[in-house]
């Protein structure tokens, strides 16, 4: 690989450029009109304007990106995360044009991108999945029978549902009797389809994911877990590793389940298997992300590895140079996502940065894409920076995180920094006791 085009923007484009520079590979950025003065455009060796600000006309425009690749003579594309990174069609277009797509095969991307197929593949591979009904439930008797088979509490869901509409938690037969017809009626009204299914309801859920690396020679290793349970609006806000919730036995089991999942699909490259874990530490497959994760930096700091470098080496056909026994946590790592948003309502806050001072020091890493004068565009994701702190113990890492947040100065837009400080200072978080409802529950208790 001599020249790589980065089909992404913002902090992740900058992050990928750093590794490509280190590996003496030339870099090509593609950018929209909204990103003309962005840092990643300046930092790349070459930059090609691919369209107007909306992503559909720029960062999701496959043909414009492929044309930029040909124009600059880039031999490979790194898709980053989001955007085209999990688009099987894009991977196949790259292959048709003789461009190396840095990621797994289009078949794997397509399989893991389909929830039902992914669920079936994992079940066959012996990876636990959330217990649920196979087909749709049509009658009340059927619903009660299935709910008992699965075991309470269960979640009654509309097959066509989304956004929580038509979902109902049931703790007993009486609940099912009371909820079934109403939920069915609501599903009919909202989605024009009243087909229902029942799934085990996971109480006090934790989001635990496992980082994997798989080469093209059949070797798959895991790089331990990340606990991503601190979320708002089902989006991750804080990630850490090692997870304070896992014991060594569970850690071993969940990591090996992720390895089995990757082997079952013939995975190659860097990937992540996401699991939901209940309070008894039973875990179930959620999905597999066939790309670099936003929070990959947690794992990089945890075990001193460059995941982007390994994505490139694997894509070039190299063998992994470490074995499973080499992988052990060297420290405790916490990542805090800085979002341009109101710290109370979490509504977006685009605008122009007027003051920007980031924390510096030992154990502090900031992956960002902003500077004084840069505008945070309403067209793209609100994440503007990731603060990653590392220390020997979790308690020290929490302390460093709080100290770094206090030192972080961003003006001109609102950020979630006050909300992050609130979490970091909370006694339950400090004890490592939290689930995915943490932020909403502390907000609820404040409202009294």
């Amino acid at each position: 690989m001599k020249k790589v085009l980065i089909a992404n923007r913002g902090e992740i484009a900058r992050r990928i450029i750093v590794t490509l520079n280190k590996m003496n590979i030339a870099t090509v950025a593609v950018y929209s009109e909204a990103d003309q003065s962005s840092l990643f455009v300046k930092e790349a060796d070459e930059a090609i304007l691919i369209g107007p600000p909306p992503v559909a006309q720029s960062y999701l425009n496959m043909e414009a990106i492929i044309a930029a690749c040909k124009e600059t003579g880039a031999d490979a594309i790194h898709p980053g995360y989001g955007l085209l990174s999990e688009n099987a069609r894009f991977a196949s277009r790259c292959a048709e044009e003789g461009i190396l797509f840095i990621g797994p095969s289009e078949e794997v991307i397509a399989q893991m991108g389909d929830k039902m197929i992914a669920r079936n593949v994992m079940q066959l591979a012996g990876v636990p999945i959330v217990p649920g009904t196979e087909g749709e439930i049509t009658t009340l008797d059927d619903a009660v029978e299935q709910a008992n088979r699965i075991g309470y509490p269960v979640m009654l869901k509309a097959s066509a549902g989304g956004g929580g509409i038509g979902m109902q938690v049931c703790h007993s037969d009486e609940d099912v009797l009371a909820a079934f017809q109403t939920a069915k009626g609501r599903a009919k009204a909202y989605f024009g389809n009243d087909s229902m299914f029942i799934e085990k309801y996971v109480e006090s859920p934790h989001h635990i994911e496992v980082q994997l690396l798989a080469d093209q020679h059949g070797t798959v290793i895991h790089l331990l877990e990340r606990d991503c349970s601190i979320q708002r609006r089902h989006q991750k806000v804080i990630e850490e590793s090692p997870s304070p919730f896992l014991d060594d036995t569970t850690r071993h089991h969940i990591c090996m389940a992720a390895v089995s999942a990757a082997k079952a699909v013939g995975y190659t490259g860097a990937g992540t298997v996401e699991f939901i874990m209940d309070k008894e530490r039973n875990f179930y497959f959620l999905e597999m992300n066939t790309r670099l994760q936003v929070e990959h930096g947690v794992t990089e700091e945890l075990i001193d590895v460059d995941l982007v470098e390994w994505q490139i080496r694997i894509a070039q056909g190299e063998k992994l140079r470490f074995v499973q026994q080499d992988i052990a946590p060297k420290r405790h790592v916490i990542e805090l996502r800085i979002y341009a948003e109101d710290p109370i309502t979490f509504f977006p806050s685009p605008g122009t940065i007027t003051v920007y001072e980031k924390p510096v020091g030992e154990g502090i890493r900031v992956d960002d894409a902003i500077h004084v004068g840069s505008s945070v565009s309403p067209y793209y994701d609100p994440m503007i920076a990731k603060l990653i702190v590392s220390r020997d113990s979790r308690e020290e890492a929490c302390g460093l995180a709080l100290q770094s947040l206090n030192a972080y100065q961003i003006e001109g837009i609102k950020t979630n920094i006050p909300a992050l400080k609130e979490v970091l200072s909370h006694p339950e978080f400090r004890q490592g006791v939290y689930d995915t409802h943490f932020i909403s529950s502390i907000r609820q208790s404040q409202r009294g």
Partner: protein, 70 residues
């Protein structure tokens, strides 16, 4: 005349009211899309919609007038 203004920059995703509609205070009038999130814009006062100033797909800045009421 009362106005509903955009509380943030973004693209108009949906119009929830039309000229002539009687609306109550607190009602959502427009849905903006900003930073990949749908954000409803609500009116602070009740009234009759006299004019909808934007169309779907328009880009608005914070403070731009979306809807006028009487």
């Amino acid at each position: 005349m009362k106005q509903v203004r955009a509380t943030m920059a973004g693209t108009i995703l949906r119009l929830l009211v039309d000229t002539g509609n009687e609306i109550e205070s607190g009602a959502d009038v427009i849905v903006l899309e900003s930073m990949k999130m749908e954000v409803p814009m609500a009116t602070e006062s009740a009234g009759k919609v006299t004019s909808v100033k934007v169309q779907i797909g328009d880009f608005v800045n914070e403070g731009d007038v979306l809807v006028e009421l009487e």
